[in-house]
Symmetry: C2
Subunit: 552 residues, 2 copies
């Protein structure tokens, strides 16, 4: 027997409707790529989104069409999301940090019909235009005054494109499983992997993320998503902020420490979110200037593991709480959050930071499973490493235009992360399954070594990769970017790590480099490092020493 409650599909435009009705005057502040700060409101975003929807319909965009954006976090990009999905079309958010060839490949794979792009990307796209046959029109996200000369087909500036259109438009009535967003993972093996979000998955993800143990958004929150809209749904914030009436501050393209601090303080931001590399920049700026954020209470850090030293710097030096989060494009993306359950409420000092390096526990809509390579369940004891698998309504069930099944026989998706889960449900990523160092049949976590190394006062960034070893198969190599003017030597670094991990985990060598390559999403690019150090030979003595004295 079915219940007799109302039919009210979970549609994304209901979020901006709710925001406009219940929080209509709440500000949306953007740093435009043209330079100036622009101010609108949720009522303004909804009005622009309705105009966009009406204009897209007039341009012949229909249910299921893909429309691409190549844009920073601004109010125009936000309105586009609501406008595009509001007619049942699909927002394909393209990551501008990809290589140009990848961008062309993904736009081709998606068969995008329109591309909305920021001024900063005009030159890039002009160079690619020949490789973008599906794109009928290029809309530059600016006004007539800033519109450049361009060779792009049917190019028009956004404000002119919208100028003749009013907001008298009714959102499409859709099945809640209608596709709304397309985001390709940064992984490139096996062809493009696009995650096709639905209205339902994005709405449920926003609801689950807004809860107190996760993003914890209320109408009094002022949130700045530094995490980009083009990066996996901006960790829910483009949806959960209007859903809850939180003020939204969009930093555009200026993500350096000084620019971020200006917005944090100027707009009274209480909560912000980004990958660790962004926060390195902010912390360095704070240290250099002696400034202290005035209103900021909480920082959500994810995308890659947050170094313990970063958490301690925010919490101990600035009194700003760090919430470590985990997720991936395939999980919409938030999959867990390291908020403090009451069983850990009394932790302080080192014990607290031992907990806070973990990626935490999943919200209601995410189920965890930990297995070995053969799919057997592993214990949640906080020690046993295993493959982390996830299931839920906001987890990918398949990739766009890929036939290969991606779920196991229980319906779980293998995240590719290697993790432990403790008895209270706290997950810690110990490595990517392809980055884990296999030494003598046992696994060594490259990430754990990196997190320890980054705490050394002379170290700006650190990476650990496995290099070939004749006897042990692989052994760890520590690659270090020193802080300006510092030159930590091999013995200093190894002495610093000694006692903090099992002896047989200690790297066989330490190499200083000027910089470490990053992926488009700011993660350390292990593949590039492995290529760079493909011919590296470990010192015989070091390998013997560190392996001879250890054990599994």
């Amino acid at each position: 027997m079915l219940g007799l409650m109302q039919h009210w599909p979970l549609l994304i435009h209901r979020i901006i409707d709710h925001a406009a009705i219940q929080h209509g005057a709440r500000e949306v502040v953007s740093r435009g790529v043209e330079g100036a700060i622009r101010r609108t409101s949720y009522a303004g975003i909804r009005e622009t989104a309705l105009k966009i929807a009406k204009r897209l319909a007039k341009d012949g965009i229909v249910l299921g069409d893909r429309v691409a954006t190549l844009a920073w976090n601004t109010e125009r990009h936000l309105a586009l999301w609501y406008g595009i999905s509001g007619i049942g079309a699909i927002t394909h958010t393209v990551n501008p940090r990809l290589f140009p060839e990848q961008i062309a490949q993904l736009i081709g794979h998606a068969e995008d019909r329109i591309l909305f792009l920021d001024l900063t990307f005009v030159q890039l796209v002009e160079g690619l235009a020949d490789k973008l046959p599906t794109v009928e029109r290029f809309v530059i996200l600016t006004d007539a005054a800033h519109m450049p000369q361009t060779s792009l087909r049917n190019a028009v500036c956004f404000e002119d494109w919208l100028a003749g259109t009013d907001a008298d438009f009714a959102w499409a009535e859709l099945d809640e499983n209608t596709a709304a967003g397309l985001c390709y993972t940064s992984g490139t093996t096996g062809g493009p992997k696009g995650v096709l979000y639905s209205h339902r998955s994005n709405v449920l993800h926003a609801m689950a993320c807004a809860m107190p143990d996760f993003m914890g958004l209320s109408s009094r929150t002022v949130v700045m998503p530094v995490v980009p809209l083009f990066h996996a749904n901006s960790w829910s914030l483009a949806y959960s902020a209007p859903m809850t009436g939180a003020k939204l501050v969009l930093p555009g393209m200026k993500l350096d420490g000084a620019s971020l601090l200006e917005l944090l303080d100027g707009e009274g931001v209480t909560l912000t979110a980004a990958v660790p590399t962004v926060w390195l920049g902010l912390l360095q700026h704070l240290e250099a200037t002696g400034a202290r954020p005035a209103s900021l209470k909480r920082v959500v850090i994810g995308g890659s593991a947050c170094p313990r030293a970063m958490t301690e710097a925010f919490e101990r030096t600035y009194g700003i709480t760090v919430d470590h989060a985990w997720g991936m494009t395939e999980t919409s993306p938030i999959g867990s959050f390291c908020s403090i359950k009451p069983v850990y409420a009394d932790l302080a000092g080192e014990a607290l930071y031992d907990l806070k390096v973990k990626q935490g526990h999943p919200q209601f809509t995410v189920e965890f499973r930990l297995t070995d390579d053969a799919g057997r369940e592993l214990p949640w004891d906080g020690k046993t490493f295993g493959r982390l698998k996830v299931r839920g309504p906001c987890v990918a069930g398949a990739y766009y235009r890929h036939d290969a099944p991606i779920l196991d026989e229980h319906g779980f998706f293998d995240t590719g992360d290697v993790a432990t889960i403790d008895p209270h449900g706290y997950m810690q990523v110990t490595d990517r399954s392809k980055d884990v160092i296999k030494s003598g049949g046992e696994w060594i976590s490259s990430i754990e070594l990196e997190n320890l190394a980054i705490a050394h006062p002379d170290v700006a960034e650190a990476a650990v990769i496995g290099v070939a070893h004749p006897k042990w198969d692989e052994r760890p190599l520590l690659i270090v970017v020193p802080k300006p003017g510092r030159t930590p030597d091999r013995d200093q670094m190894l002495a610093f790590l000694a006692g903090k991990v099992a002896k047989w985990w200690l790297p066989d060598d330490v190499v200083l480099v000027d910089s470490i390559p990053h992926t488009a999403t700011g993660k350390i690019q292990k593949t590039a490092l492995r290529t760079l150090f493909a011919d590296y030979r470990l010192p015989e003595t070091g390998a013997e020493r560190s392996t001879r004295t250890g054990g599994s």
Copy 2:
């Protein structure tokens, strides 16, 4: 085009699974009707629920069957909810405060097959058993030691009924729209009106209610729902507490001030929820004993309008925040919550309490509409009265076994409440549409007069009804229950109200009574008052004075 996210229906048993996995040791504490405090955990509740499901299946209960409970808030009642819906059957929560004939009528209308009842209701049900032909078995919620002699058919005590059953059971795989709960409204006109909740509606309601501006539940919350499980889903708490890992304290049948304070302090309760009459008892106990709750931070008050004096007593005297809530059986039930949006963040003193008497703003899953009798939209100006209509996935679309449509042409349900909505979305119920006093073609809010009268230091409770008037059609009569030893007279009361409302709103007379009748859910029973005062004649002079000097 549909999205490619996982199929993961919103099913109620996923809540208790999540609680058992992620918050398995979190306590569920109950005051048993046998007297003792019992302690279990979410893992324990899940295990009992699985046993219940397995045993129900063995007893032949199948998808869509109705199973009734007549029970207080205890861990057994909670486990029953999850066990019953976990096989696709429907929990019909019967309100024990109804008249016995109504109880029999509703169980007959629902065609319940099993009735689970607390010890306290055995005698009541024995008297009704002949009128309950559909009930095949009566299960008394106790153990063998406390099992009474009873004439009830196939009577068995709960613990014996479960004794031979283990928890090795797989929850039913269901469509998320499957019916899960049945709750009849207290209104009796036009035959029984049963609201048939679905798995989806209950899960979405819990998610929306858990958010920071509403119940605001985290894993660190300790919540005591005094609001009964038999009263419209316990305001979401039976679902939202396990969903978030909040500790749950269930007060059983002892709802007096001393018993509640014992649990509040003894269990470290931080949040509690109930109707105003419950809090009158607690406040009187605190005043009499000089006690102050030790851990309580927030009280949610709804079910009927919370008197301003009650809010002020909690906040000013005890430093406990009051959140005024509104809803009804048909809205699952939470429809709005008076949390403070930033536009009102600077309110203090009287201005703050002017806001806090309002019922507040709706969560994401509730849409408001305000219309006149003809269905025309009215302005949200905080002044204009209108019919309050609601729409959403947790709002009833029809009544169980009723053919009559209950939604307007836009899909909205008429709540029967008369309300204003201010420009920031804050709704205030000014009356029930059937209780509003129509004087000379204009409307007078009986509730507003009651809230003003209750603030008089000699008044324990107050009600206002319309009584017939030859010239003005209806005029207000104020009915007062004085505090012990006090006898406020008519002129004192009218002088107290003067200046606080328009002169033509002032009651024509004041009557002192020993008590005021209440409905089964604790609301003032206006119909009974109208019957009681059916022959009441207003004093000529009073009517003339108060109406002559006024104006619309």
